[in-house]
Amino acid sequence: MSNTLTLAEVEHIAELAKLGLTPQEAQMFQEQLSAILDYAAMLQQVDTEGVLPTAQGLDSGEAERPGMREDRVAPSLAQAQALANAPAQQDGQFKVHPILDE
């Protein structure tokens, strides 16, 4: 079974991920992503009759309220630390390219 993605689908995925691809790269990813889909298709052939669906691989089992924390305030970073890696900043805020869609 082969799940070949079209080039248009690859370009759509790249657009969603904000990646610019050269024609060569698009072709390379078309092959690689298709191979991944083929692999998933192979898994789908396994007979899962009688097996409960698993929503999540991470499950603390029977523990009471697993993986939760109490609603307690913990220290935050200082503003200077928070902004330390910002490419640009102004007035204590991250400065980014203009957001046009509003």
Binding site: G57, R69, D71, A74, S76
Partner: protein
């Protein structure tokens, strides 16, 4: 042509937890300088891991119970992927196909007294985004809000008008406030609303093209935008056109919806399970414990007030805010001893007290008129000790000074004159002074008695019992 509007709503409400959803940053950031309530988790730094806030989960489960929802035994979180500068990780932790609660309903009561159920599709939990400010050539982002617990409540398309949407929002907010899990304050952005609207010919079962309206930040803008969209879409359909599937915003100043995004740019969120968070198991014992924590909710309170004698619509209005409902309860229980019936107390609160609250901008929880004193005032009016006009003056003074009703009546000499010998004298004077009206009355213009009653009321400086006066007048005029 006649159309039916098919409306669904999505309401986002920030939960009132102490810390954020997946980290310990202080959730009370309103007055804080930008980017001071942030940490590696809510900044989305590589390697940081989210941990669920138990209270936020419990709040949504409680909301689900209060909204008559089913609580599935398993719920999970998913990643909703989209690029936007205020979304630190490039995805929002939300819930896709296994929400914390689903399939509930809210009952709303319309102004004509009829009740209607709005079905709730789901109430789930997600994280809020940061806040961006647009400066023209660039934008600034503050992540203090990033990672705040946000509950999303989605209805089935059961709403039919702006008025129903208003009633739904009012009821939903009342429930959230009774639960004490959200402020529901739209002006402060703690509650946000999206609406989707389509029209279909009345009586048809098909659905028309859906238009979304986003960024609605007041009850009024929700109602106005819906009413506007219904008219706009009806005009397009009447002209033989087709409604476009778009996302709109509401321009408050212009009073109209404006296109924000067309269908071609629609998002493709590529949801997938959040691998860093375990499944949430809502075990029976836990859910029972939360159910036991639910306070008396607006519906139950409303039923109680209706049983006590209030009109259904009044009962709804008086239970919208927990503080008002508590005031009403206190006044009603004091009413029995004060000789004030429930319906009269409700009328005085809905009318005069609400007017005074509105004019002064005060909150019912902090006013000087104790509920027991309000009941005492209503009792004085009901027993005929003072008339209604004097009662209004007394309430105004109570509101301004906090003095008890009886003391004000005494000090201002407002006690009603029911003593008939004194009233008789005033009535006779009025008859003597107004021969024209007397003649009119005797010639069959029975309305003249109203004029004469007015004269007597004036002469008594408002203290006469109007009912007794008109009886006396009729007796004397023959």
């Amino acid at each position: 042509m006649d159309y039916e509007a098919i409306i669904g709503m999505e309401v986002h409400a920030q939960l009132k937890t102490a810390s954020k959803m997946f980290c310990g940053c202080d959730a009370n950031y309103a007055a804080a300088p930008p980017n001071t309530h942030v940490c590696p988790v809510c900044l989305g730094l590589p390697g940081a891991l989210p941990v669920m806030n138990r209270v936020a989960i419990e709040y949504v489960l409680m909301a689900g119970l209060a909204l008559n929802c089913a609580i599935p035994e398993e719920a999970k979180f998913d990643r909703k992927n989209y690029p936007y500068p205020d979304l630190v990780k490039g995805y929002q932790i939300s819930q896709y196909d296994m929400p914390l609660s689903r399939d509930g309903w809210i009952e709303i009561r319309l102004e004509d007294g009829t009740a209607k159920r709005i079905r709730i599709r789901r109430a789930h939990l997600e994280e809020d985004t940061g806040k961006s400010t647009h400066m023209g050539a660039y934008s600034l982002v503050d992540y203090n809000r990033s990672g705040m617990p946000l509950m999303e409540v989605v209805t089935e398309p059961d709403i039919r008008s702006g008025a129903e949407a208003w009633a739904y929002l009012t009821k939903l907010r009342a429930i959230l406030r009774y639960l004490g899990i959200a402020s529901g304050n739209m002006e402060e952005g703690a509650m946000r609303c999206e609406v989707n609207i389509s029209l279909r010919p009345a009586g048809s079962a098909a659905f028309g093209t859906k238009v979304e309206v986003k960024n609605l930040n007041s009850f009024r803008s929700v109602r106005q935008s819906i009413d506007y969209e219904i008219k706009r879409q009806a005009a397009i359909l009447d002209a033989g056109g087709q409604v476009e599937q778009v996302t709109m915003g509401w321009d408050e100043n212009a009073g109209r919806t404006v296109v924000q995004r067309s269908k071609e740019e629609a998002n493709d969120y590529r949801y997938f399970p959040e691998p860093d968070l375990p499944v949430v198991r809502a075990r029976r014992a836990w859910v029972d414990e939360l159910r036991a924590r639910l306070p008396e909710l607006p519906d139950a309170r409303q039923e109680r007030l209706i049983a006590a004698g209030l009109r259904p619509y009044d009962a709804q209005v008086l239970t919208e805010e927990r503080e008002v409902a508590e005031y009403v309860d206190a006044a009603l229980s004091a009413g029995q001893a004060a000789g004030a019936d429930a319906r009269s107390i409700s009328n005085w609160i809905m009318g005069e007290l609400f007017r005074l609250l509105k004019e002064s901008g005060q909150d019912i929880a902090t006013i000087q008129v104790a509920p027991g004193e309000l009941a005492a005032l209503v009792g004085l009016v009901n027993r005929g000790a003072i008339n209604a006009a004097a009662g209004k003056q007394v309430l105004e003074e109570m509101f301004a000074t906090g003095r008890p009703a009886a003391a004000i009546v005494e000090a201002r000499g407002l006690a009603q004159i029911s003593d008939s010998s004194e009233l008789e004298r005033i009535v006779e004077e009025a008859i003597a002074a107004n021969p024209k009206a007397v003649q009119d009355y005797r010639e069959g213009k029975k309305a003249a008695v109203g004029f004469l009653t007015g004269q007597v009321m004036r002469a008594s400086r408002g203290k006469a019992n109007p009912q007794v006066v008109s009886e006396l007048l009729r007796a004397k005029l023959g």
